[in-house]
């Protein structure tokens, strides 16, 4: 049994360390709160889309082009793979920081591929006559998918920033996790949007 003073010192040390190391880094907590707000924002859009779709007798509108389900499935797979690459980058960072560069770059490139592919898809749909004002399908499609693409672009920017800091040896773990939280939000949201809007 340790003496009473030693136990008190142990408790003091515990309280002191606990006070100075927060459970969640401030940047990560801020990003989590932001992501929660974004989740509710997209939930509102999905709800509005679901109600409009239910009120329309024939869906999709007969005079409108069909959304490319198969091609977008490939794009979805690319985005999910980028999430896997980022998880691998995190594990590599914990082992040896230098080994995290390649998987982080792969995650960014796959994200870039996703956005570019989406852009090409949009150009094709616009040529076929699906515009923002052509129907409620077009309005919701460009609003929901466009906002997701905007989030993807910002998230790629965050990953790029993390990659640059990693290159220079300045990247701390909380910065990587902050970028990860936003990217996982973008990756996790997309299958839901794909299921609601495309299928």
């Amino acid at each position: 049994m340790p003496p009473r003073s030693a136990r008190a010192a142990g408790r003091l040390r515990l309280a002191s360390e606990h006070r100075h190391t927060p459970l969640v880094a401030s940047s990560v907590l801020g990003m989590l709160i932001f992501v929660a707000a974004e989740v509710m924002f997209f939930a509102g859009l999905i709800s509005a889309f679901t109600i409009i779709r239910a009120e329309t007798p024939v869906w999709p509108p007969p005079d409108q082009p069909r959304l490319p389900i198969e091609r977008t499935a490939i794009n979805t797979a690319a985005l999910l793979l980028s999430g896997v690459a980022l998880a691998y980058a995190h594990r590599a960072y914990l082992r040896d920081r230098r080994t995290a560069r390649t998987p982080l770059l792969v995650a960014m490139l796959l994200g870039g591929f996703f956005v570019l592919f989406q852009g090409a898809e949009w150009v094709a749909l616009l040529r076929q006559g699906l515009t923002l004002t052509s129907s409620s399908l077009g309005s919701f499609f460009y609003l929901i998918v466009g906002l997701h693409a905007l989030h993807a672009l910002v998230a790629i920017g965050l990953l790029g920033y993390a990659w640059l800091r990693l290159q220079r040896g300045w990247l701390v773990q909380s910065q990587l996790v902050t970028a990860e939280v936003f990217w996982y939000f973008v990756v996790g949201l997309w299958p839901v949007l794909y299921g609601v809007v495309y299928l």
Partner: protein, 98 residues
Amino acid sequence: MKHVRSTFAALVVFLALSAPRLALACSVCTAALDDEANRAFILTTIFLSLLPLTMFAGFATWLWLRYRQRMRELAPVHAPAAEPTPVPATTSLPSLPS
């Protein structure tokens, strides 16, 4: 007085009967009379109500698990006190110096 009361009662009955039979919570909800739209309204209401609660619950659980893990990591580890070496019992008397 009786005449006034009966007129008032007739007026109330007339107004009650001429009032719209259906009162909805919002002006655009007449669309929800359709079965499919009604179902969509109910489902999205449930979805939007439960989503923030689920997020809060998930975050609180994650925070609690992290806290417990942190407490385990920070708990002071005390080595168990060494047992005193037992002194062998002897039946013989110690020899006295001569």
